[in-house]
């Protein structure tokens, strides 16, 4: 039953999508939800459902899509990072995407941009560019001749992250009015309504995640170690670089609009590995689907517990995710998988 894992994760995702559409700070009776969905197909919206339609169509659906994409991006790139670094502690933020994006966003927030299309794009754009610049910098710092030793990458990443995080804290303390915004970015959350964020990050995700899925076999080979993989015919440095770039691109795109959501990219790949095995050809797509579903559930919790206040989703991912992961870890038959 090779397809069974896919069926389970897709069912889980479908359930999460339904919950995400159905639950919000405003209660919309199932009857009205059906009315709106029917209205989309028939082109006729009964009177009295306009507000419900606006909430479902203008707020919940775009948000659901953005959350799915973000969860998929973080979890997919997390799985790739773990395979690339052969390190169970690796997550998509390991070599500085998060700290770079946080620094870029905080710097952009300290400037008062005009209220225009580009002005509104300044923060996500700065976050994205700073994240990619950080990865580039860390990569070149870690480079030794023609090779990029994994240990060097991790250490350079950790050191630069500490540097960037301190600079971000400094900016936040010096900043005047933007503390809450910067704090919100660092904890992660989905603040923008409408389709723009989801549509903007979609191309990056399709290219990046697509590339990662196609490289499942390469990641499998890399698990034998660089030398072995090279002997097996893998152009190790080039493949590692490309996977690193693809995973970082995906993460940077996700982070730019949603802030730094922790834990998803670390834990979902592990859960998938514990449940369904460590074959990267299967682990990558499963992590992508599972990450989308997991983040959707976290977001549903984030916007319902203190409704109408919204919790930063980054708080929920770890608060609800950690106990769940520990439970999976204790229960899993697939022990010693790493």
């Amino acid at each position: 039953m090779r397809r069974l894992p896919y069926i389970w994760t897709l069912l889980f995702l479908a359930l999460a999508i339904i919950l995400s559409i159905a639950i919000g700070s405003v209660f919309i009776p199932p009857k009205d939800i059906w009315g709106v969905i029917a209205g989309v197909f028939t082109g006729y919206l009964p009177a009295g459902l306009q507000t419900s339609a606006l909430i479902l169509w203008g707020i919940r659906l775009p948000r659901t899509v953005l959350v799915m994409l973000t969860g998929a991006a973080l979890s997919g790139s997390g799985a790739a990072y773990q395979g690339l670094f052969r390190n169970p502690l690796a997550d998509p933020y390991l070599i500085g995407v998060a700290s770079g994006a946080g620094l870029g966003a905080a710097a952009a927030m300290s400037i008062r941009w005009p209220y225009t299309f580009w002005g509104l794009l300044a923060v996500p754009l700065a976050g994205f560019l700073a994240a990619m610049l950080t990865v580039l910098l860390v990569y070149s710092l870690a480079r030794l001749g023609k090779t990029v030793p994994t240990t060097n990458l991790i250490l350079a990443g950790v050191a630069f992250s500490a540097f960037a995080t301190s600079l971000t804290s400094f900016l936040m303390l010096r900043s005047t009015g933007e503390l809450r915004r910067a704090f919100g970015f660092l904890l992660g959350g989905f603040t923008q309504a409408g389709w723009n964020p989801a549509l903007t990050i979609l191309p990056f995700l399709v290219i990046g995640l697509g590339f990662l899925i196609l490289n499942g076999h390469a990641l499998n080979l890399l698990q034998f170690g660089d030398d072995q993989a090279q002997q097996l015919g893998l152009p190790v440095t080039r493949v590692k670089t490309l996977i690193l770039v693809a995973a970082s691109l995906v993460t940077a795109a996700a982070v730019s609009f949603s802030g730094i959501i922790g834990f998803i990219g670390l834990i979902v790949p592990h859960v998938m590995r514990l449940w369904f095995g460590a074959d990267y050809r299967r682990l990558l797509p499963l992590s992508i689907i599972g990450g989308a579903a997991a983040l959707l559930l976290a977001d549903v919790i984030a916007r319902s517990v203190l409704s109408p206040q919204e919790l930063p989703v980054g708080i929920v991912t770890a608060l609800a995710g950690a106990p769940f992961f520990l439970w999976v870890l204790r229960k899993a038959k697939n022990q010693g998988y790493w």
């Binding site: 209220y115 005047t176 409704s307 109408p308 919204e310």
Partner: protein
Amino acid sequence: MFRKLLISLIAGSVMLAACTPAVTPAPLPAVTQAPPSPLPPSATAPLPTSTTISLTYTDGLGRTLTFSGPAQRVVSLAASNTEILYAVGAGAQVVGRDEASNYPEAAASVPTVGGWGGFSNEAIVALKPDLVLAGGITSPELVASLEQLGLTVYLLPNPTTLEELFTNLETVGALTGHDADAATLVASLKARVAAVDAKVATVTSRPTVFYEFDATDPTKPYTYGPGTFGDLLIQRAGGTNIGAQLPDPWAQISLEQLVVANPEMLLLGDAAYGETPEKVSARPGWETLSAIKTGKVFPFNDDLVSRPGPRLVDGLEALAKLLHPELFK
């Protein structure tokens, strides 16, 4: 304790944006006459003025918005906005508020649409507001989201002076159809400010004041620096603000600097967080301050200086009474 500091900072940030030079000054509302009333001249009953005039305003984001009539359903996204709405008599039109809006008491019964953690777009949409009154603390992302959902959002800029505050009051009055109430309110506030000014003009001494709004770390408490209403009102009430020499509007002062400055009066803006004159006297190193020796340590309602609403004038009067009790016998 970190949270407490953060909350104070954010409460402070209400005015903080006002201190950055990039802030556009509070724009003066431009009133344009709409085309003549379509009613035939024979109609005897005059229409309410508000529906025959269309108002064009430039808000704090530099957007020009046109209103065809007063807003009937208003969602307030800032505590200061809520206070202004109630003060100009538009309280009955407020259908939603942010979590921090705790004044006046009547506002507590208005449903909240979010706050510290974030706002719920759908809760705002569900209230069907015809005006969302955003404030200086509202993020541009939230404004953009609400606009995308078809709502009218007016961002009331943070005032930096009492004059700009009065302009804001008049703007909100006009937006909600309470022009006359707003004018009356502004006139009475101006008279009260003038009364304080007249009294303070006679003072011979301007006592030094240290105003703390967060002393979670008593070796470096937070105080209002230059450009804040805390600073502005202390000076206007006839005091000398120790914090005025600090580089930042929301600044920490070291206990060393504080001991050297040796203020004659301590005001506890963090009284709401449980600071009391007794606790302050017990802080190590503070006993040398002359304010402690003379017992001039007073709790102070921080909302009166941190929220850019009509109660700033209450704050001014309260400060003047504390600083110069002899003037108010």
